[in-house]
């Protein structure tokens, strides 16, 4: 099941910040880190992110549970690089025929894994501390995003958890009709495709009905909208973004001073 509920303590000092400010801070922080290929800057960034976690009201255990897909992709990167990296420099640690593990390979892999974590964690933190409704409100009120887009996406988002149940129902209904794939991989693929198509057809029909219901309640009818829930963008929110710039800059600067900085673009 896809969880869309925030998991953080809602009154933690940074969790309370304006959703747009949180998204902006996360984007600034992540994009700055993309500038370097070395392992030091992302390692510092991860340390900073983890140190700030309590201010977002997220417990480490909860984060670990949320971030497990990241661990999975990290393992994937490690394996791929060990097997296929072109750069085989450095001291050889293991030579088993086609598999040649050297310090150079391990260093590159470590750098990439750390980058994935450093870049993705801010996003994980933002979505763990932000209510989707608040985000849509803030997008409309603070950055003047069109309501048609923000509320429309929010309403569609609400239907996402239904898709999982729907998939299960369609699969069971097919089995009841005598349709299964057994052990044949081609039949499995075809069954998957036809189930996905049925899911899509259902989703479009539901989306159409929802659009009519929203239309009936005056959505996007040209009347200027008012807002029931005010989102404020305060100095603290600006400070959060500035803080993200400063911290990401500090991580890069440390890396430059240590001589490990490897720019993405030479």
């Amino acid at each position: 099941m896809i969880s869309i509920e925030p998991v953080a303590a809602p009154d933690a000092p940074l969790a309370r910040r304006n959703p747009v400010a949180k998204v902006a801070a996360a984007l600034v922080f992540s994009f700055t880190l993309l500038a370097t290929l070395d392992p030091v800057a992302p390692a510092i960034a991860i340390a900073l992110e983890l140190a700030l976690l309590p201010l977002f009201g997220i417990r480490y255990r909860v984060l670990a549970r949320r971030a497990w897909p990241l661990l999975l992709s990290a393992a994937g990167i490690l394996v791929t690089l060990v097997l296929f990296a072109a750069d085989r420099s450095g001291r050889v640690l293991l030579d088993a025929g086609p598999v040649l593990v050297s310090t150079g390979v391990l260093l590159t892999a470590l750098g990439l894994v750390l980058r994935v974590f450093a870049v993705a964690l801010p996003g994980v933190i933002v979505f763990a501390t932000t209510d989707p409704t608040d985000l849509a409100d803030a997008l409309i009120q603070n950055v003047k995003a069109p309501a048609r887009f923000a509320i429309g996406a929010l309403a569609a988002f609400r239907l996402v958890p239904l898709l999982g149940q729907e998939w299960q129902m369609i699969s069971m209904a097919r089995r009841a009709r005598g349709v299964d794939a057994g052990r044949n991989p081609v039949a499995k693929l075809r069954l998957f495709a036809s189930t996905a198509f049925a899911l899509l057809v259902g989703a479009i029909r539901r989306g159409t009905r929802l659009a009519v219901a929203m239309d009936a309640r005056g959505f996007d009818a040209g009347t200027p909208r008012t807002v029931a829930r005010r989102q404020h963008f305060t100095r603290a929110d600006a400070l959060l973004i500035a803080g993200a710039v400063v911290l990401a800059g500090a991580a890069l600067t440390t890396s430059v001073l240590l001589g490990t900085f490897r720019p993405l673009i030479h």
Binding site: L154, R158, M169, A176, F219, T226, V227
Partner: protein, 476 residues
Amino acid sequence: MGGVLLRGFGWRHAGRRAWAVRGVDLRVEAGERVLLLGPSGAGKSTLLSALAGLLPEDSGEQEGTVEIDGLDPRKGRERVGIVFQDPETQLVMARCGDDVAFGLENRGVPADEIWPRVDEALHRVGFPYSSDRNTAALSGGEQQRLALAGALALRPALLLLDEPTANLDPAGADLVRQAVASALDADTTLILVEHRVAEALPLVDRVVVLEPGGGVRADGTPEAVFAAHGATLAAEGVWVPGHPIAPRPATTGPGELLLTADRLGLPPRLGSTDLAVRAGEALAVRGPNGAGKSTLALLLGGLLRPGTGRVTASAELAGADHRTPPHRWRAPALARRIGSVFQDPEHQFVTSTVFDELALGPRRTGQPEAVVKETVAGLLDRLRLARLAAANPYTLSGGEARRLSVATALATAPRLLICDEPTFGQDRRTWRELVDLFADLRDAGHGVVAVTHDADFVAALADRTVTLRPAPDDER
């Protein structure tokens, strides 16, 4: 305010040859309460959409005029509120209060007026939770009351209800109707579409019957309309009070054992359940929402792996396979023995024509093409689907889709048929056909299990009833 005037009104959806509704002359005064009736396909929903201003000019062709307080409904949208049938696709926001506020925001109501009006609307429909309750955690009946609050918060002069209780269990439907009765202002006009006339009558003082070919067949007080047209309407599928349907008790006693459930459960959805199904028997499974009725149907149908206990098929049902539990049978073997009919017919459709839909099961179970053709022709005939053989299953009406979904389960001639709410939202004609069909199957030696809220259906068909209780809290 809230007066409706239709003059020779007709609408044809773009790309369709037939008019959805045509030649309607109707005047409804402000504050009137009107029940709009007509057989399936008479254009009731299209008429409501037109009144709600939800038929854009470029989406079809219009004849005549429709006016609300002298205005084109497309321009007078703020006068009209509408509640549809499907609870799931009417709610927009994650929190109940926000959802009611949604319409107020759209209409530009000043921010400081929004929350008092939200609270008032929730109070009027008897909404039992606080306004920050998650909308996904509500039952269907609660969601419909919330949708009603969302419509009423806009203070419409005309309220349109398009079968708002058709997808609800009886208790939920009652609460929605009570909410409508108590929440309406005296000067609000109401136009209601509803098959279940007896339940709707306390809400209305006038009945209008649309003629499927066009025009208005009857218009007047409920007494006058039903005295003159009751029998015809009942035959056409409207649930007119005072036209009972004869029950179909079993003609013979139950036969061999087909399927047994021992301490069968799937925590937290279903607590431990024991039951046995026999050939020549119609078994009804009842129980409140959340008791796990649908889960039980899926477990008995061999579609879910049991969490606790087991399902055992008899040798009579499964032959040499009776030592394997049904959920581990290959799908074609399952379809030959146990047929499942899902609550939502559309979940079951796999192909693009009604004919292929019926032919799928027999083909999957290895029947020769001549036998397939014969089976399909027989089912098309028996379930009044013959003229739709080439139609796409997704374009069928509710009643047609239900008949097709039952027919697809019958196509492989399973000995046991398991149905989840087969009569939900069905008109009286389809309902009667389903009772007769299931009774015929039972009397021919099939086992029939129906999970249902429908007390009339149980009374008309069931030989035995099993009532589920909600799973105890420690298992949830």
